[in-house]
Amino acid sequence: MTRSMVLKDCCLYDPVNGVAGEHVDICIRDGRVVEREAGQTEVIDVGGRLVMPGGVDIHSHIMGSKLVHARAMCPEDQRLHTQAMTGTTRSGTGHTLPNSFAIGYRYSVMGYTTVVEPAVPPVRALGCWDEFRDVPNIDSALLAMLSNSTITMHYVEQGDISGLAGYIAWTLRVAGTFGVKVVNPGGVYAWAHGENVTRLDSPVPDWDVTPREILRSMCMAVGELNLPHPLHVHPINLGRVGNVETTIATLDALKGISTRTRGGSAAHLAHMSFECLSSVEGGGTEWRDIASGGTVFARYMNRNRHFTVDLGQVTFGPVTTLTGDGPFEAELFRTVHTKWSNLPVDSELPGGGGVVPLRFSPKSLTHSVQWATPLEFALSIDDIWRCVLTTDSPNGGPFTKYPLVISWLMSRRQREAWLDAVHEKTSRRTALASIDREWSLYDVAVATRAAPAKILGVSKWKGHLGPGADADVAVYDLRPEEVDLAHNPTLVLRALSRTYLTIKGGEVVAREGRAIKSVGGRLWTCHVELDSELAGRVESEMEEEFIPRWYAHAPENYAVPDRYRTGIERAVHREAMDIRP
């Protein structure tokens, strides 16, 4: 059955197609945007309201065992923000850690339709596939954490990039994952020994490898595999004063590694707010020496084009830090003394990731500088197409704070009001107060739709509304010509928090700030076809050697079975036949 719809009189912001506020009609048929629609069609007149492609979030923790653990560990968070069931929607709870249903509904109410879960131990991917069936109204993709896997160490030590690429392709296929995530390379492995790494050339216990070698090898392997999304990097030294130097050194280490089709991007740096801290002049690495590295890093980014970034914007109030970076969480626990979980996952996360609840307070100088850093950065870069808006939810704050983050970026007036409320010394440690720039709605559409879809490698279908795109549309209750948003930050907040209409795959899933439907989403995966000799070699190494030696279950029980993929999986196919066995 053909289902079609015309959205009349959209004030459209669609940067991929170069549209900035033109009034157009959008035609939808069978879940896709089409050129024109004739005949029996539902017509919705949106009356000149602001329309954007459905939002794309490239880094938000929405599924998986660590999130499940964090929720169970923090009922005090779950009590907040309850939503009763309705005839078409399930019930919800939770502030920084909403239950699965609430995650889907809250994203769709904000106009988001694609959200990537960036930290999945592949051996537990089955749990994500199961959980995803309860996350309504969004599409997703899982990034596999492989930078501390015992098997990665083996291939890196051997200098066997082909083997590593084969292992990555094997993992993407059997675990149904889409891309590759690096988390504190070598450091999370060292944490199994109670240690961490602090330099790119630090030794990693048990193996003759260094963080630099792990990073470079993985980047080369991902490049050779021609994956849609570049290596997604959470570097070493996260959350340390002065770490902007390490971060720049990390990105320098990846410069020049050839990638085939992604316009030269070798890596995506996740949640830069946590890894672009500087220190005051003459200061050391103590927290009291903290200063923003936002400008320094923006300058580096403006001069180097081989990577992209998401903000991981810090917001104030309760957050839950949860990462695959176990040693970081252990250190944080020793500082804040709240509660701490550490979660190793077989030989893929030997030392383990962790969870520590936290509260960012505007009274704290440290937190205030952490807040200012990504804003200073985002307002100092030349190319917003390489920048994605995130809060690393729930690490920098729940994703429901995106409209607030946008108001900071769009309105100098808003920033001034917040600078008045944060720690008084903040302005001495950051350049934020001196920045006049204000993001436009077009910039916002880039950083929340167009850029993330492009960086993710799904821009054919997501992040724009040209013919052939998925019919994921956000209509906001705002007529851009009638208001000066920079002078009305409250209006930005109100309008972007609750859509007038959210359409996912051609179906209206949210209306006037309420989810009205529960539609099952799709999970993107990536299948890479390899030379059969390489595929065969890696398969037998995995199944006959590595899994029996390092895991505690059978290789036959590793893969996510078709039963859980059918009707959900949306595979992107790649060829990398020329990687030598």
């Binding site: 923090c74 239950n99 109670g194 626990f333 979660l343 190793p344 036959e556």
Partner: protein, 425 residues
């Protein structure tokens, strides 16, 4: 069939070879005694037909009639309790939460009577856990505390502790318990604590680890010299792990005991790598906590009376709901509360209508108003279960269920549809 997963205990051994002939299981290899029974006697003591209680007698009825009666009980209940779930697969959980939400009832799993206190302790302190593969690969000091795996998880030691480790040569196995259990007999060291003194012993160890001196000569039956020596050995381990059982969670002190163990292990991490893990009993009790958490926000004891989930162990936990006579109907899925609950709770089960969904005859099937047989998950139907360390595994189907016998998830889904119809939703 090879590499079948054993759906008995929280170890979820996945190397079981099952011989099937003419739709029957005829042989089992690699399983422990408990696992062999799970497979070889899968068809014993079955509930063969749906039955309803009429005039004091169980009458055999067609499945549709049993579903109708179950739906009638559920939709006319003012306060429904859905209970069990730990011995069935994740999809069945999903249907159970949906049903509880629909009628504003309460849903609880068996962890409220096993490791519920561990969860409360985790909510207070967090928990540095371990994964079983990493224990096998790295642990050089393994302690079972208040747990007796030789009896309850027979292959735990063989698969994860006494097996060859990739990055460890020598490994010591200790048992801390109030009696010399079967596990203590195979351990390298047995530490006997006085009954009821785990909290004191754990706290004393933690004090010593943190450099405090205690002005006593013994704690919980252990001399200070022995405690100091234990603490020193624990600090000098490379990778230590405490597996704890109901000896900590269901004795005096309950969640305080577990909390003390967690805090000890958190502090030990300043000296060496340490983790702990509860020895989960039912094969998918970990999965029940997980599914409950991602779907309702809470791991057990969830109430939907207000249309959204609320959590209150001690109030919405099954035993308390029954003892307080708060529920007026029960849907029991894959558990046997009539056999395991305190007498007062069981007495209330006898007073109210109970819908019992289980593959086998059990004590609850003798007090239920409706019995609906179900397929044995992991033998007669597939699904996901979660190992005690959080690893999700896909349960295979080895043989067909008896005619007209459905998986739990389908029975619950049919009840849901009927109830929704009756309530006009």
């Amino acid at each position: 069939m090879g590499r079948v997963i054993c759906s008995f205990c929280g170890c979820l051994c996945d190397d079981i070879e099952v011989g099937v002939q003419d739709g029957r299981i005829v042989s089992v290899r690699n399983a422990c005694a408990l696992g062999r029974v799970r497979f070889l006697e899968w068809d014993r003591d079955r509930l063969r037909h749906p039955t309803v209680l009429r005039g004091g007698e169980y009458v055999q009825v067609p499945l549709s009639e049993a579903i109708d009666r179950a739906a009638e009980i559920v939709s006319s209940a003012r306060r429904l309790l859905v209970y069990g779930l730990s011995s069935t697969e994740n999809d069945a959980h999903r249907e159970a939460y949906r049903l509880a939400e629909l009628v504003g009832g309460v849903v609880d799993n068996t962890s409220s009577v096993c490791h519920g206190p561990s969860i409360l302790a985790v909510q207070q302190s967090g928990i540095p856990v371990v994964s079983l593969a990493e224990v096998r690969n790295r642990a050089d000091l393994v302690i079972y505390w208040g747990a007796n795996p030789v009896a309850a998880h027979p292959r735990h030691i063989q698969r994860f502790v006494r097996a060859e480790g990739a990055f460890v040569r020598d490994r010591e196995l200790w048992v801390v318990d109030v009696r010399r259990s079967e596990t203590a007999r195979v351990a390298d060291r047995f530490v006997r604590v006085q009954p009821g003194s785990d909290l004191e012993v754990l706290s004393a160890l933690r004090a010593i680890v943190n450099g405090h001196t205690l002005d006593v000569s013994s704690v919980g039956g252990l001399a200070m010299s022995e405690l100091s020596e234990l603490a020193e050995r624990m600090q000098s381990a490379q990778y230590g792990v405490i597996f704890f059982g109901l000896g900590l969670t269901q004795t005096g002190g309950r969640h305080h005991n577990v909390d003390a163990a967690i805090r000890l292990v958190q502090d030990l991490n300043s000296h060496a790598r340490w983790g702990l893990l509860p020895m989960r009993g039912h094969y998918n009790v970990t999965g029940a906590n997980d599914t409950s958490t991602w779907q309702t926000g809470y791991p057990f004891a969830v109430d939907f009376a207000r249309g959204y989930p609320r959590y209150q162990p001690g109030e919405y936990s099954a035993v308390d709901m029954l003892v307080n006579r708060e529920c007026d109907a029960v849907v029991n899925v894959a558990a046997d509360p009539a056999a395991h609950f305190p007498r007062e709770a069981v007495r209330h089960l006898g007073r109210i209508p109970v819908v019992n969904i289980d593959p086998k005859k059990n004590m609850t099937s003798l007090v239920a108003s409706v019995n609906i047989p179900a397929a044995v998950a992991g033998v007669e139907c597939d699904g996901i279960a979660v190992r005690m360390d959080g690893l999700p595994l896909y349960l295979k189907k080895a043989v067909d269920p008896p005619p007209d016998v459905l998986p739990d998830r389908e029975v619950l889904a049919e009840i849901y549809v009927k109830v929704a119809e009756e309530l006009g939703r």
